[in-house]
Amino acid sequence: MQPRRVVITGVGLCSPIGSSLDEVMTSLRQGRHGIQVMPAWERIVDLRTKLGGVVTLDLAGRYPRKKTRSMGRVSLLATYATEQAIADAGLDAALVSSGAVGLAYGSTTGSSDAMEEFCGTLFTSYSLRGLSGSSYLKMMSNTCAANLGQFFQLRGRVITTCSACTSGSQAIGYAYESVKYGLQEVMVAGGAEELHFASAATFDLMFATSAGFNDRPDLSPRPFDVRRDGLVIGEGAGTVVLESYERARARGARIYGEIVGFGTNCDGAHVTAPEEAGMAEAMRLALRDAGLDPGAIDYVNAHGTATEIGDIAESSATRRVFEREVPFSSSKSFTGHTLGACGALELIFCAGMIRDGFLAPTRNLEAVDPRCAALDYIRAPRPASPSLIMSNNFAFGGVNTSLILGKIAEAGAPMIVGV
């Protein structure tokens, strides 16, 4: 069977800078960030960072109890994004539950609040007294996929991608492969994360969080800037609906773009320190999958977390692959690092940039760290007509992902002939 071309026909999201595509695109264009001071974190002894990227959407009472009793916040955010994406794609309920629609979804972990509920009791008092039957369902690693499956009555394949900060991008990559190779007609794919001091603490312990701007949420994170001092944790969820180009055309679906390439690999080296060579190889794998030369890419959406070692390694890897000053920016300067959600959110941002004809900048990038490689660092919204965008993400465990998104011409004629 010929590999099928795979397109995005639905997007849904909730993020610190908005919970619809239009809202986030306005934020990206106007430089509106979603970082807040977290007063509740003051009580956590020794936690240095006090900033978070918060989703302000009110989800209380939005869904029936029986459908949400096994959901912590991370699953609720994923449900909201997925509900939007399925509606946006115009998939009817009969198709969704027919078995033709599969699911690929991830988050770094399950709900931290549920972990506190379950482990806090069990691990300190060694008692089941007071433990709820649903705590585990909220905290298990596959909680998003499990809950989305039952909520939307999805009956196709389930791929649970819990690979830290590549959870969202891997889900989309594996969903793309599922459709491309005819394993599934339609895939719902994405990633989610809930903001919790537990994830802030993880990075704080490694001195990877921003702690020098705790009273100025507008000034951090600062990816690639010489004054950056680490990442700001955020939350959110992003979901896309993927299907074959032919199917989308046949049903007259709106197409946001075509996923033309995906590469993923593992550094096989350090568990947390990124490797320039592994990152570069993931980008090359995606280019090879797309049958493209690096010169064809109009813009690279960086992982760009604002950690010293990550920024330097990523910019160097990007320069190594592109051998030119390719346009480059990090959306995390707006949202903070949304961990399991970031790969999905950032790919949706890229689809929005193709739709709206501009490239979003890196906020707070005043002076590029001289140790970062020479690239075209975008510092203000830039009018553009990008046809091919690469979105990169990197995770603990040395997992690297690179997705390439292509524009579909208005008339329906593909920009990319495919390979």
């Binding site: 109890r65 029986k66 096994s70 007294r129 433990l131 709820s132 039957g133 649903s134 369902l137």
Partner: protein, 85 residues
Amino acid sequence: MTRDEIYRHIVDILADTFELDRAEISAESKLFEELDLDSIDAVDLFVEIHALTGRRIEAEVARKVRTVEDVVALVESELAKAASA
């Protein structure tokens, strides 16, 4: 606790835990067919009963519970056992 007090307590638990309307709950209400509880809800109901009686309910006893009245009777008997223990 009188039987009446136990009943009111159980109604509170059902209403608060499962977002049920108090008006739709009666002693005869069938937990699964009428109040739409299921196996996961039952686990949470027995967690609440454990908290109320201080006694962990055995699975074979729990499985026999069908109505709100059954729950009240179970709690009454468990409280009596707890008092005589």
